[in-house]
């Protein structure tokens, strides 16, 4: 029988090891994870610093104020210029945390930007707060108003970005909310309760967090994948509605939206948005190849944006291993889910010679004197497809808008070549979603856009004119 003293020593050793591991756990939260948690928009400490002091301003690309702190008899209150920017500016509530830019740049807005460690330490240890400056966005308030007007009262989202830099110039999501109410201690409880009880989920930024089947806008990805797999864009592929690859599909068939019978090349298939053409192309290149390109174009990965963005998915499992699923995915149905921001980035990649830009809302953090503390200009994500592939796809997208009889004709802008693609996405929640994604001018693109209209009766047919209006406003025409 072991002496008890020996057991005591063994137990003491075990206790000492447990203390060591617990210490490591505490060290993880206090030292390793601390940075990220300190910037978490729900951490009340950043917001506490602005209870008795103004927060920094949020301004647009031209310096127009989007969010400012105003002195009221009850203390400092946040005022927001434009409700259509609710999801961009976000709210700043001491109780419910902060969202949008208010959350993502929470430290910058109280004069403690990460690029200014001295200011951070003065605030932390000496309680000496620098006068907060401003966070400047790429948003253009005039364009934003035009975009909100183009969306009308419809549930959906529109995002406009510069394909060369990824800077977001306009971003509207409906339904939206009044961020000033959530930020006001007197009204926040009621507002928060109502917003969270609302089944239409107005707090969700549909631009970056809303996920939808892409419908025919997916054909841009399928076309690029096929071109890089050796598809000849001029080759004719026979389309006979309805289509079934082999009897193992049972009763399942791919339908053409125009009950087509005839020979299609890539350009015509894009103009007429021919499902059967793309289903056949998808089956030709195979599920692995299509999944690879969908992944390269960012589907299934959250865009590295400064606002929270959803990942989406290629399929429930991430693979395209069944022929019917592959055929459906190739023309944009199946189990695909994407956000409007992801579709805008796909359009921007084609516009930008195959290089995907990194999306960002903010462009600079400035101090109280207006000097730039930190410029925000993230480099591109990388080369997604070859430049010549991008050029060929871009031409088919121009045809899809400009050619006689093209489906997306309503997106035309006088005097400018527009490249675009509509989509009508069937979904379980009712009428199809309408999509338009595109860019202009086609020769040297400066604007990329994605329009999504939830449950819009005519789908893409409703979205194309909205896309046209947005492009006109963005190009100043």
């Amino acid at each position: 029988m072991r002496p008890i003293a020996q057991n005591i020593r063994a137990l003491t050793l075990a206790i000492a090891i447990a203390f060591l591991m617990t210490s490591l756990g505490v060290g993880y939260w206090t030292l390793v994870a601390a940075g990220e948690l300190s910037r978490d928009p729900f951490n009340p400490r950043l917001l506490a610093a602005s209870i008795d002091r103004p927060r920094g301003r949020i301004v647009d690309a031209k310096g127009a104020e989007l969010a400012v702190s105003r002195q009221t008899p009850e203390g400092w209150r946040r005022a927001y210029a434009d409700r259509s920017l609710a999801h961009v500016t976000g709210y700043a509530s001491f109780k419910y945390g902060a969202s949008g830019i208010e959350g993502a740049y929470g430290a910058s807005l109280i004069g403690q930007d990460a690029a200014d460690p001295l200011g951070q330490m003065r605030a932390r240890y000496l309680k000496e707060y620098a006068d907060p400056g401003a966070v400047q966005l790429a948003i253009d308030l005039d364009l934003q108003k035009a975009v909100a007007a183009a969306l009308g009262g419809r549930r959906g989202a529109i995002v406009v970005l510069d394909p060369r830099t990824g800077a977001v110039r306009a971003s509207a999501s409906l339904p939206n909310y009044e961020p000033g109410l959530v930020s006001d201690p007197a009204q926040q409880d009621l507002a928060w309760q109502q917003l969270n009880g609302n089944t239409e989920r107005p707090l969700i930024n549909r631009v970056a967090q809303g996920l939808y089947p892409p419908g025919s806008t997916m054909k841009i990805v399928t076309a690029a994948a096929a071109l890089e797999s050796g598809l000849d864009p001029k080759a004719k592929i026979r389309v006979d509605d309805p289509f079934q690859a082999d009897p193992s599909w049972g009763t399942y068939r791919v339908r053409s939206s125009s009950q087509a019978h005839g020979d299609f090349d890539l350009s015509l298939a894009m103009q007429r948005s021919e499902n059967i053409y793309f289903a056949k192309v998808g089956l030709q290149i195979g599920g692995a190849r299509l999944a690879e390109y969908a992944g390269k174009f960012g589907i299934g990965t959250a865009p590295k944006c400064d606002l929270p963005a959803a990942r989406g998915q290629i399929s429930n499992t991430g693979a395209l291993d069944r022929p019917t699923l592959l055929a459906d995915t190739a023309y944009g149905q199946g189990e695909l889910l994407v956000s409007p921001l992801q579709m805008a980035l796909i359009a921007a990649t084609i516009a930008n010679g195959g290089v995907m830009p990194t999306p960002h809302y903010a462009t600079a953090v400035k101090d109280a004197s207006g000097a730039v503390i930190r410029a925000i200009a993230p480099g591109p994500v990388g080369q997604v497809v070859r430049a010549d592939t991008a050029r060929t796809v871009a031409q088919t997208m121009v045809d899809a808008v400009q050619a006689p009889g093209a489906f997306a004709f309503a997106a035309k802008v006088p005097g400018v070549n527009v490249a675009g693609k509509t989509g009508t996405a069937e979904n379980p929640s009712g009428a199809p979603h309408g999509w338009f994604v595109g860019f202009a001018p086609a020769e040297a693109p400066t604007v990329a856009v994605a329009v999504l209209l939830e449950n819009s009766p005519k789908g893409g047919e409703d979205a194309a004119p909205v896309g046209g209006a947005v492009l006109r406003a963005a190009l100043g025409r």
Binding site: I8, A10, I15, A34, L37
Partner: protein, 434 residues
């Protein structure tokens, strides 16, 4: 305590100076940072406490106690930190209440130094203690007497004035019973006549207490909804079993039983499931402002700590609900930093180490088991709550010994400290060492 001849305890006295410095500095920092108008409490509390501390020291000196001189200053230092934190975090009336509990704890300490006159009483009447423990344990379930507070039915109370958490005292009774029971039967348990492969199989009757203990732990989890107590009781029991037999298989089997019980409870009971789910994904959108709010705010407090902390009174730990009880470690760490948290853990580790040292040196197996079990209570409880704060294990509502606000816990821990000092006193007398 047999002898009445006074004997000096200089080491203890020197250490008390540090306790006084800790308390006064902490109070000054906390009071200076608070914007509140002047009140008498911040003056009354530290002075009274230092009086109590000196009183306890002088009592030991007067009784001629020869035992350990580190434990009392360590316990007082931890209690002082607790007072500073209550002053910092809790409403003012709680600070005065905690001071009252300190006085009661000091009384309990004195009483435990005097009664029983001979520690062998603990060994002789072991089944009485077990029965008493069991009665205390189920007392919160009795109608009229029991109280449900914060979702756990672990309190007894008379009117609204007096509330006590009997499971705290039960821990000591359990250790006493197990020390006595295992000391008696440890031969049979550690060298049983039959073995199943490497697994010892003691005769069935000896296994009964193990199964009974498991059943009790499950009852506490299910009916009193107290996951912390469940974990503590069972952990104490397994540790005692190991100490007596040196047989890791019992601990292994016991741990498996506990996990099995936990898995079944997870399937069957909402409160167990909620705890585990919020632990796994505290930042999930649907629970961030709901069930995991407390844990998330605690992690934010850690994140604000950095290496040296925000400074006492300078952080924002008051955002954590009932911070002065469940999250006092996170609050202390936020304001004193990773280093402060480490220092606090080190105080516990030294306390536990001294306790284990007393156990190793104790003259009889019963006293060895008793001292080691008592030290283990402090170690295990500290680990469970600190690891719960740091999201290493699911959060359970046990107190941080000596520091958390709460009377039952404080009184129990001072009883425990007194017992350890008495055991070391016995050792010193038996060995005749200074």
């Amino acid at each position: 305590m047999l002898r009445m001849k006074a004997a000096p305890r200089f080491a203890e006295l020197r250490l008390l100076v540090f306790v006084a410095a800790l308390l006064v500095l902490g109070y000054v920092a906390v009071v200076a940072s608070a914007a509140a108008s002047f009140s008498a409490t911040p003056v009354v509390v530290p002075i009274t406490f230092l009086g109590l501390a000196l009183g306890l020291h002088l009592f030991l000196v007067a009784r001629g106690a020869r035992g350990d001189q580190l434990l009392l200053p360590l316990a007082l230092a931890l209690t002082a930190i607790g007072l500073v934190e209550v002053q910092r975090l809790a409403p003012e009336r709680l600070a005065l209440q905690q001071l009252t509990w300190c006085a009661l704890a000091a009384l309990a300490f004195v009483a435990a130094m005097l009664v029983p006159r001979d520690l062998s009483v603990l060994q002789r009447y072991k089944y009485t203690w077990a029965l008493l423990g069991l009665l205390l344990l189920i007392s919160p379930l009795l109608p009229g007497l029991g109280r449900e507070i914060n979702g756990a039915r672990i309190w007894i109370g008379v009117g609204n004035l007096f509330q006590f958490q009997p499971s705290e005292a039960v821990k000591i009774l359990l250790v006493v019973f197990f020390a006595a029971y295992l000391e008696e039967h440890r031969e049979m348990l550690s060298a049983p006549p039959r073995r199943f492969g490497p697994v010892p199989v003691p005769p069935v009757p000896y296994l009964l207490p193990i199964l009974a203990m498991w059943a009790v732990a499950m009852v506490v989890m299910v009916f009193e909804k107290d996951l912390g107590a469940t974990l503590l009781f069972f952990g104490i029991f397994l540790a005692m079993l190991y100490l007596a037999t040196g047989e890791p298989f019992y601990t292994l089997i016991g741990a498996l039983l506990l996990i099995a019980g936990g898995v079944i409870a997870y399937q069957l009971f909402g409160h167990v499931q909620a705890r585990v789910d919020t632990w796994l994904a505290p930042f999930a959108e649907e629970s961030r402002f709901g069930p995991s709010f407390q844990l998330v705010q605690g992690l934010f407090a850690f994140a604000n700590a950095g290496l040296v902390g925000a400074g006492l009174g300078n952080g924002m730990p008051e955002r954590i609900p009932v911070v002065w009880s469940d999250f006092v470690f996170a609050a202390f760490t936020e304001e004193t930093g990773f280093l402060g948290g480490l220092a606090l853990l080190a105080l516990y580790l030294v306390f536990v180490y001294r306790g284990m040292l007393i156990a190793v040196r104790a003259p009889t197996p019963f006293l060895q088991l008793l001292a080691a079990g008592l030290a283990f209570i402090v170690a295990f409880q500290t680990l469970v709550i600190v690891a719960g704060n740091a999201k290493l294990i699911p959060l359970t509502g046990v107190t941080l010994p000596f520091v958390s606000y709460g009377g039952s816990s404080l009184v129990t821990n001072f009883l425990l400290t007194a017992l350890l000092i008495r055991i070391s006193d016995v050792t010193a007398r038996v060995r005749g060492a200074p």
